[in-house]
């Protein structure tokens, strides 16, 4: 099921945006509409003009982030170290790999574990939220996202950087 439709946009794409000064956010979501919304929210709340790059390396994120390849896929590691990703904002429910799985992989990785990871979900499930926070997620945000959520997040992240 998830292996089909590589040409369709229903799989996660990497959007990379400037967020304030020299701040790069990696947004991961398999829903096209949600990606568009996150992009606008982040651009809207950034001080400088923001840029956005979609579908890095022309591969759907699903292909990059399968269970077997996330740690070993140089594409993702390089992306994170090269572009100095400062924050990862990921959806929880995605085909093939959940946001929790991604969080775990990032925390297990020596050079990615310092990057704060924020999990988003449309479902308010306390056990799910606690599980993510326990695994080291910076915070959990409920969808649909609003501008006030992003502003709050920005303040939190800036504070934790100091």
């Amino acid at each position: 099921m998830e292996g089909e439709g590589s040409s369709c946009s229903s799989y996660a794409c990497i959007s990379r945006m400037e967020f304030g000064e020299e701040f790069h956010v990696l947004a991961v979501d398999d829903n096209l509409i949600d990606r568009k919304l996150v992009e606008r929210l982040l651009k809207n709340s950034s001080c400088k003009g923001a840029t956005c790059r979609e579908s890095l390396r022309n591969k759907p994120l699903y292909a990059l982030l399968s269970w077997y390849s996330v740690l070993h896929d140089l594409g993702l590691s390089e992306l994170i170290s090269e572009s100095k990703v400062n924050l990862i904002l990921t959806d929880y429910c995605m085909p093939g790999m959940t946001g929790y799985d991604l969080l775990k992989k990032i925390k297990e990785s020596s050079h990615m574990r310092e990057v704060p990871v924020v999990i988003m979900s449309s479902e308010n499930v306390p056990t799910r939220i606690n599980k993510c926070l326990e695994e080291g997620a910076q915070t959990f945000m409920l969808k649909p996202l609003k501008l006030s959520d992003i502003k709050k997040l920005r303040r939190q992240v800036i504070r934790s950087r100091k």
Binding site: M1, C8, S10, D30, N31, L32, I33, D34, K36, L37, R40, L41, K43, N44, C93, P95, S122, K143, P144, L145, K146, L147
Partner: protein, 151 residues
Amino acid sequence: MEVSEMQRQFVEYSQSLFREGYLDSQFTQLQQLQDESNPDFVMEVVTLFFEDSERLIRDLTCALDQQIVDFKTVDAHVHQLKGSSSSIGAQRVKNACVEFRNFCEEQNADACRACLQQVNQEYFLVKSKLQTLFTMEQQIVAAGGSIPIMD
């Protein structure tokens, strides 16, 4: 028609969509994210929503047409549609999806098919209303007016 009359009708129509539950506050969020640097944001997101939803509805129809229904697949599609309708504020579509997911969980194929009909109906209703709203906006702009800002 005078611009002020067009604007009045636009406000009235907008308000009715919220009052009747077709749209919720998330749609207002989208409108607030639109500005001079991104004047077509709402239309762009909504257009994406139309394309994505119609694809999902087609996929759902196909999945529910199978001899042996794969409820996991059906649920995955409904989850997507629920997510995107929620993100743009299409409240009735979202609510229809919530009900649909309950029947997926129960693995009740007939109830699922009934839900799909409901989702389909709500989707085409909100699509038509949003298109009317956009047309009204375009007419106001063409006549040299500005779109009234809704709170």
